[in-house]
């Protein structure tokens, strides 16, 4: 039970019940500028008294000490400080700050903090995330630790007078770790091996096994594809299909090959600029070709090329540095020290790729088979020869040859590569564009010319290899992002992995590490992890293993009412993580339990069953599609064709984004529409029918044994007696009803999976389908726990 008002900032309904009895929280013993003061100033003052000099009011600047002490603050003397006078003025006083019309209001406690801070000398410190991470000593804790993560987590628990939970049982642990690392439940055999393994390395062996599976890359690619805004369509009004799945495969393969994150970075941002780039490195550059292309009639290609470039800047800084640059596109950032000129200097890095909002997505990289390639070069040669022969001849001469040439050209046009992938290609020489500042972000309202450069608030970009023609390029930028001096990238990346494993980032606002972002719940741990990531040379699997091996992760998810009251979001980790599965996981898990999930990897995107909507996109084709055949109907969710104007409906109901733009954090809502999907979507019914048939065939003799079989296939653990009782009763009731209505029974047992195997009783199959449908909809099934 959370306050609905928290969500809304509206407290009318509540005040009726809640007389404001809340006593003020005590002030911290020592004021910490970043923790205590900056958020207050940033939320209430910086918009008019911050870095942006264009809108700065009264020439007062509060984001730097010189500015503040020049007019508003007298260090040591809160009562003599105009800041305090203004903040504490009555609302009818015209001089009150923040002004009434802003709707912002400072609390009494916040004023006390500011007073205390001024009293202590009003010292400013650099925003924590802009200072290089410091590796601190491991805190002491009385609890047993498995690795350094636990030292930080458990010491904090002690300070909060809490204790960790004991380790989860092996079945729970196996399901949790398998889901987190591979996106799928473990196989029965994997679980039993783990449970039976009495050695001390049993769990580690299990984790290693999960990390080594192909499913690992398919699962972790999903997160990255959200960041990369990967989709199989170009977006905007007509949203035509786009062929770019080679990039999706690149991401999956990179995770499976455990490509170090810094290499992964260089390849995607600047693979084309690496010396003698490989095909793989060129495919990687499609990362930034996932921007949308506008083919709507009457649109200006330069305008939308510019939109794509802006998106590349914003995405790059969000993905690697947790910095929302977007604000600085139109004006100097109001909260963070990034000027508009710096924004366009960052944009200059991306402004010289050859793509230009073209419907054909050029430049693209074609993929040929030897046979096709031979056919192509043969034709090209014949055409070249004929053209040479025809050179200088009059149009009326050599008619036969001319006709032949036309045919050859037609043939050549028909020779298409197997597939293509849009790539980045740097313009050279005269084709290079000049980058100019755009006033208010308008691409037609241009200002001074700018050159490539990074914002001054961050460590300087050092040119390692000497200036190239045209100065700095994307490769320099990419190297700078993953350089050891960069204070943000390692923190941002470590935090994102943490978020995937533990449910919430140490910095909850995983997309925002600037002044408006939240502070870390465990700052020393975040810094330790960031330095560890660099020390381990950006080894992704090693890093994920570190998280999964911690005792903090392995705790039981059990919670007491007191603990839930105190920490409903589990930020302190006094229990194991428990969060809703992602859209892809929910679907894949049901197909897996059903025995339907295809293990086929990579390749063109597939079209699983979806309802016909009978609508088309504006100016575009029908949104409905022809369902894929054979095992392509049952591929993992990561291979589902992603159409931006109409994302696969059952997955978008579970918060899968349409990927118009970079998504750092997906929602994890719980809605009735989701219940309709997992209860009624033919995909889930088919899965239930399939597992029902397996249950009848392999589940044992008794109803109880069969119920336990179906339950374990879905949830890994064995059901309790009480659970078996409920399931068995459901089966008996359902079977009794279906026995009286063969038509219904047949429909429910066979549509859409198809006729039952010989000898299977139809009412029994229908009844088990009901049971499986119930299991597949249990809270436990939808949650990682």
């Amino acid at each position: 039970m959370r306050l609905p008002t928290g969500l809304l900032g509206l407290s009318f309904t509540l005040l009726v019940f809640a007389a404001p009895v809340a006593r003020a929280q005590p002030l911290p013993a020592k004021i910490d500028f970043n923790r205590d003061v900056r958020p207050i100033l940033s939320n209430n003052c910086f918009q008019c008294h911050g870095p942006d000099d264009k809108v700065r009011k009264a020439r007062l600047r509060l984001d730097v000490r010189e500015g503040a002490t020049a007019a508003a603050i007298v260090p040591g003397k809160p009562d003599a400080s105009e800041l305090i006078t203004r903040l504490t003025a009555t609302p009818d006083d015209k001089s009150v700050m923040p002004p009434v019309k802003t709707g912002k209001k400072i609390t009494a406690r916040e004023v006390e903090i500011l007073k205390q801070w001024i009293k202590e000398g009003a010292t400013y410190t650099t925003h924590w995330a802009y200072v290089a991470p410091k590796r601190s000593e491991l805190p002491k804790t009385k609890y047993q630790i498995a690795n350094p993560i636990d030292a930080f987590i458990f010491a904090r628990l002690e300070a909060e007078k809490l204790a960790p939970m004991p380790e989860a049982d092996r079945y729970a642990l196996a399901r949790r770790a398998a889901l987190d690392l591979t996106g799928l439940p473990p196989t029965q055999e994997e679980v039993e091996t783990f449970v039976a393994d009495k050695t001390t390395q049993a769990y580690e062996k299990f984790v290693d096994k999960m990390l080594a599976k192909t499913a690992f890359g398919e699962h972790w690619a999903r997160m990255w594809l959200d960041l990369a805004r990967y989709a199989d369509s170009a977006g905007y009004a007509d949203d035509p299909q786009r062929t770019i799945w080679k990039y999706r495969d690149y991401v999956i393969q990179s995770f499976n090959a455990n490509k170090p994150f810094d290499v992964f970075t260089l390849e995607q941002l600047a693979g084309d600029l690496l010396p003698n780039p490989t095909t793989e490195q060129l495919i990687a550059t499609a990362f930034h070709r996932n921007t949308m292309t506008n083919s709507e009639g009457g649109t200006n290609d330069e305008e939308f090329r510019n939109v794509a470039v802006v998106d590349r800047v914003n995405t790059t800084f969000t993905v690697w540095m947790g910095t929302s640059m977007a604000c600085a596109q139109c004006h100097t950032h109001k909260y963070d020290p990034i000027t508009q000129v710096e924004y366009f200097r960052s944009l200059a890095f991306f402004n010289n790729s050859a793509d230009a909002d073209r419907p054909d997505e050029s430049p693209t990289l074609p993929f040929w088979t030897d046979e096709l390639l031979k056919k192509k070069t043969d034709l090209e040669k014949q055409i070249a020869d004929l053209e040479t022969a025809l050179k200088g001849k009059k149009p009326e001469e050599m008619k036969t040859e001319r006709d032949k040439l036309a045919v050859l050209k037609k043939d050549l046009a028909a020779v298409k590569p197997l597939t293509t992938v849009p790539i980045m290609k740097e313009l050279t020489g005269a084709a290079r564009r000049k980058t100019k500042l755009q006033f208010r972000g308008n691409f037609m309202d241009l200002g001074e010319e700018v050159t490539e450069g990074t914002p001054a608030a961050f460590p300087a970009l050092k040119v390692v290899a000497g200036p190239q023609p045209g100065g700095l390029n994307r490769l320099h930028l990419a190297k700078w992002l993953v350089s050891e001096e960069n204070p943000l990238t390692a923190r941002v990346v470590a935090n994102r992995f943490w978020e995937q494993i533990f449910g919430t980032g140490l910095v909850r606002t995983s997309e925002e590490f600037g002044a408006q972002g939240e502070q870390a719940s465990h700052p020393e741990l975040l810094d330790w992890l960031a330095t560890e990531l660099i020390a381990k040379k950006w080894d992704t699997k090693e890093f994920l293993k570190l998280l999964a091996m911690s005792s903090a992760y392995r705790q039981s998810a059990k919670v007491t009412p007191e603990l839930f009251e105190k920490d409903p979001d589990n930020r302190l980790l006094a229990r194991g993580p428990r969060v809703r599965l992602s859209a892809e996981m929910i679907r894949d898990q049901s197909l897996f339990a059903a025995g339907l999930l295809s293990t086929k990897t990579l390749g063109p995107s597939v079209r699983p069953q979806q309802p016909n909507l009978g609508v088309s996109a504006a100016f575009g084709g029908s949104i409905d599609w022809q369902t894929s055949t054979g095992e392509d109907k049952y591929r993992r969710g990561v291979y589902t064709q992603w159409r931006r104007s109409n994302p696969y409906p059952s997955m978008s109901t579970f918060d899968a984004p349409n990927r118009d733009a970079c998504v750092v954090r997906r929602g994890r809502t719980n809605t009735p529409l989701q219940a309709l999907v997992s209860m009624n979507d033919p995909v889930y019914i088919e899965a239930a029918q399939s597992l029902a048939r397996r249950t009848i065939e392999n589940g044992g003799k008794t109803t109880a044994a069969k119920a336990a079989f179906a339950f374990r296939a879905c949830l890994v653990r064995a059901p309790s007696d009480a659970e078996v009782t409920v399931l068995a009763k459901l089966f008996d009731d359902a079977k009794a009803k279906f026995s009286k209505d063969a038509t219904k029974a047949t429909q429910f047992a066979t549509n859409p999976l198809g006729p039952l195997p010989k000898g299977v009783d139809v009412s029994e199959a229908a009844a088990w389908t009901v049971v499986v449908n119930v299991i597949m909809n249990l809270d436990e099934m939808l949650m990682k726990r």
């Binding site: 019940f17 809340a22 949203d239 939240e518 733009a661 209860m679």
Partner: protein
């Protein structure tokens, strides 16, 4: 649990927290718990009805969007001077520095071919293309000085509905539900109905929840086929059997809740119960076959059709059930003149007459049911159309106009809006608002005002910034408020 009791418990917990948390290490626990966020599931219902900032005239919205942008100069904005200058070259001052979607060079001015008259006591100018609306002239406000920043469909629609011309921000309906919750326990708070089988250019972004929790996003319902995706029980599974299954599910979930102690499990149970109820209610509300023949006839609705008329009738049925926001999109208003349906003469008369019959019927129907007073109705497109002939089709027989963002018209009615009123004026040739310009951000601010919100204060924090529907703009148009 009784909602009031639940609330009290929540309050008690909050007090406990405020008194007990320690500021150790990093972020104090109290700030860790500070606010609810989009990514965290909650145990309370985020769609529970809520009170706005101040007493509101409107409780719900029906937004009728004419996708493609109606030719306002042939509907609401009568320009005698433009008729006089019909066929003349468009003056350079109106072309300099401007971009048009399909027109370059010097186009010819195009006066309307539709007869115009003043209607109602208020004397509101309307053309014969929208004859059915003449009867409700004294129930509506027409704004003739609208302005937007975008001249392509998709960005203009997104700007109109989300305050921003690119995808990714919450839509008007999502903001409305975020602010007000939903009055219906069995239906979504925000329903989208699309006629003629074509999505608007802005796509699902026009009813998306952006960075708001996805419970606030619009749910597309269909008047043909299954009204909500996956609403029907699978073939062979009847209601009794579903109930049996749900009871077992509840029992098993409760065992889990006892075992692990997570109160969210209870929310899961209640969402499944809600889905069960929604299956009945949604099917019922979407079935118009039991409406009296007279009503069907007045709207021009036919059970089973996917028409705009059906959707207008459904809009009324949905808001009667407490749905907060109903969004209609009707395709076929992009009057370029590329075919006879896009001709501002007969093509428009046909489109205008059929569709406004349903709009007029809706207004009258709501009025009869005493629902018009607190239901806000908006009718309009994403921009206007040029006072000159569209470039590509200028040589043909069909008369069409290009996209035009600088000045257009829009109609409002109901909750909080003046009845029988015209606001703003365009200049003589219709190129610019001459008086009382209303930017789409101002329209948004005004709609939020009618619903009881200060548009600058209904915000949501995302990526470190407090976002709102009107971005950093918007001024309430007080002159059109009742």
């Amino acid at each position: 649990m009784h909602p009031r009791l639940e609330l009290l418990q929540a309050v008690t917990r909050r007090n406990f927290l405020e008194n007990s948390s320690l500021g150790l290490g990093g972020l104090a626990l109290s700030s860790l718990l500070g606010e609810a966020h989009a990514d965290t599931p909650r145990t309370e219902n985020p769609l529970a009805p809520k009170k706005p900032h101040f007493a509101a005239k409107a409780k719900r919205v029906i937004y009728l969007h004419m996708s493609g942008a109606p030719p306002h100069l042939d509907i609401f904005d009568y320009k005698p001077e433009l008729q006089k200058q019909d066929g003349k070259n468009c003056p350079d001052e109106h072309l300099k520095g401007k971009r048009f979607a399909f027109t370059s060079g010097v186009p010819k001015l195009l006066g309307t071919r539709q007869p115009f008259k003043q209607h109602g006591k208020a004397g509101t100018w309307m053309s014969d293309a929208i004859k059915p609306l003449h009867e409700v002239a004294d129930d509506v406000t027409v704004i003739r000085s609208m302005k937007t920043d975008e001249f392509n469909h998709a960005p203009a629609e997104l700007l109109l509905y989300t305050g921003f011309a690119r995808q990714g921000r919450p839509s008007l309906g999502a903001w409305t539900c975020y602010g007000l919750g939903n009055e219906s326990e069995n239906l979504p708070g925000f329903v989208v109905l699309i006629s003629n089988g074509v999505q608007p250019s802005g796509g699902q972004g026009c009813w998306g929840s952006g960075f708001l929790p996805s419970v606030f996003q619009g749910v597309q319902c269909r008047s043909k086929g299954e009204p909500v995706l996956y609403l029907s029980d699978p073939p062979g599974l009847d209601r009794d059997m579903r109930r049996l299954g749900l009871d077992a599910m509840k029992g098993l979930n409760e065992l889990q809740e006892k075992e692990l102690g997570h109160p969210e499990t209870r929310t899961r149970i209640s969402q499944y119960e809600l889905a069960f109820r929604m299956q009945l209610s949604a099917a019922e509300v979407m079935d118009i076959s039991k409406e009296p023949a007279k009503v069907l006839e007045s709207y021009g609705a036919k059970p089973g059709a996917g028409s705009f008329a059906n959707n207008c009738l459904l809009a009324r049925r949905l808001i009667e059930q407490g749905v907060r926001y109903v969004q209609l999109f009707d395709w076929g208003w992009d009057f370029h003149g590329t075919n006879p349906n896009e001709d501002i003469r007969d093509g428009l008369t046909k489109k205008g007459t059929t569709t406004t019959q349903s709009v007029a019927a809706l207004i009258k129907d709501l009025k009869n049911r005493d629902l018009l007073k607190d239901t806000l109705i908006v009718w309009g497109g994403e921009f206007g159309r040029t006072p000159f002939r569209e470039g590509r089709t200028a040589g043909g027989q069909v008369l069409g106009r290009d996209h035009f963002p600088d000045c257009f018209s829009l109609m409002l009615a109901g909750g909080g809006i003046k009845a029988g009123h015209t606001h703003g004026e365009s200049d003589d040739l219709g190129f610019k608002p001459a008086k009382d310009m209303v930017h789409v951000h101002d329209l948004q601010a005004t709609l939020m005002h009618c619903l009881g919100f200060d548009h600058t204060k209904l915000t949501f924090r995302f990526q470190g910034r407090d976002y709102r529907l009107t971005d950093v703009h918007g001024k309430v148009v007080k002159e059109i408020l009742a």
